[in-house]
Symmetry: C2
Subunit: 280 residues, 2 copies
């Protein structure tokens, strides 16, 4: 895949990493970056994530063959819908948002003919923010979910798959709702749990938080606004997963209460088996 | 601090790291290791964690000026009590168990006069097991809790503090019950939560478990037998902390239910503040 002009809206950790990977791998001839502040564009230029920085999103999108929106999930729908009328015919728009159903629903209803949108979510990233943490290998061997609905153009879907493949990612095509249900369990629930754990630590016990506590709560350092928007958009699925988690935790608690150490050991062994299968 | 003969009972990750640190830092002239299998002693010799490996715990302890028990918490009390009659007058016994109240209570009632015991818990380690993961710097700048009760000999307490300081660790002296309550929150509760999360992942969603899920569930890869014993010994404190955690999680859930995004954002911001203060 060779893109003449790739526009990245939002040059943070994910946007910056897309720019670095695209340039390193020759996926794009020219990479335009869009930011709200000149300083972040300057930083993206310095680390080599983009070739040119623009403050005007419509200007930048009008030049794009492919545009990727890497902004917070609560800004993506209106940004893509707003950009539609400025796009070249045949332009492909996608995003890197952590939720898909709401975004896909909003965007599909809003784009003009001849401008294509396919939802994406690269399952990569960290609790860190900003282009300073961008990494050309961020997507290497990671999974990117690409969404398909009955409105998805087949050719646009293939281009989107090729795009992420070209950045080093594995790709799976999913219905947006199925994506949201999956990440509610594997990403949004852990975030909620990590935040509840971290929030329960009084300052006088900070000294007792060793690697176990640090690992378990690491994602709670993520940006509160970003995560509030994610949890708001995926509220129903997160609530369902919270309910399942509660049942599992209650089972474990009742084993402690009745001192059923055999059952507890079995449950911990099952959890270890699952975790071991994931690797480090 | 210079120990003529240091005996380490259990040459796994912690025991092996104590041996490496003691030899590297010149804390002990001679390090004896005790294991149940010749193969693990051989491994400890090969990595340089011990000078000599013995299968007979009483023989090894009879030669010790200081002996550290790094075995599972459900074996420590009887091992120390059983070793008591074989110790030299003035010998100092300590342990590295993750719980303290039960162990200290059992051991203090069992030792002969002239043999001293002080409980310890270095807040270091990982989900990994075995001497192959031993690290001479494991205790560097980490916290070790050393316990004091009304039966603790002041001189033995000072020697125990000096021992851990000499291995690179910071030391805090705590009542065994206070220790257990603190680690119930900072270590045992996270383990239970991580296990519940890991256990809830169906195999078909394994591919969706990215770094957030992996971090949050990493400790669930810990040994089930070790952890069942820890949770059994600290059951009451863990149940108390589980109850507090449940209340925090229920608060968070109700914010999702009533769509109070301002409150949710505030809660996530507070959790981030706590987590940021811990560092990476």
């Amino acid at each position: 895949m060779r893109i003449k002009t790739l526009t990245i809206v939002g040059v943070g950790l994910i946007g910056g990493s897309i720019g670095l990977a695209a340039k390193r791998r020759g996926v794009a001839v020219r990479v335009l970056g869009v930011g709200r502040q000149q300083t972040s564009l300057q930083r993206a230029l310095e680390v080599g994530a983009i070739d040119e920085g623009l403050l005007d999103i419509h200007d930048a999108v009008s030049k794009a063959d492919v545009a990727v929106f890497c902004t917070p999930v609560d800004r993506i729908p209106e940004q893509i819908a707003g950009a539609g009328p400025y796009c070249k015919p045949g332009a492909l728009l996608t995003d890197a948002g952590s939720t898909k159903a709401h975004i896909v629903r909003c965007v599909e209803a809003a784009l003009p003919d001849g401008v294509y949108y396919v939802g994406s979510h690269p399952l990569a990233g960290s609790e860190k923010r900003g282009c300073d943490f961008a990494d050309a290998d961020l997507f290497q061997d990671r999974l990117t979910v690409v969404t398909q609905t009955d409105q998805t153009d087949v050719n646009a879907l293939e281009r989107t798959k090729s795009f992420w493949n070209a950045l080093g990612s594995r790709v799976r095509v999913l219905d947006p709702e199925d994506h949201d249900e999956a990440v509610a369990l594997t990403s949004h629930l852990p975030h909620v749990v990590a935040a509840a754990l971290a929030g329960s630590l009084p300052s006088e016990l900070q000294d007792f938080a060793a690697s176990g506590f640090r690992d378990t709560t690491r994602i709670a350092a993520g940006d509160p606004e970003l995560w509030t928007a994610i949890l708001a958009q995926n509220r129903d699925a997160v609530l369902r997963q919270l309910q399942v988690f509660d049942i599992g935790l209650a089972r474990l608690r009742s084993m402690l209460e009745v001192k059923n150490w055999t059952a507890l050991n079995g449950l911990l062994a099952q959890a270890k088996k699952v975790r071991d299968a994931l690797g480090s």
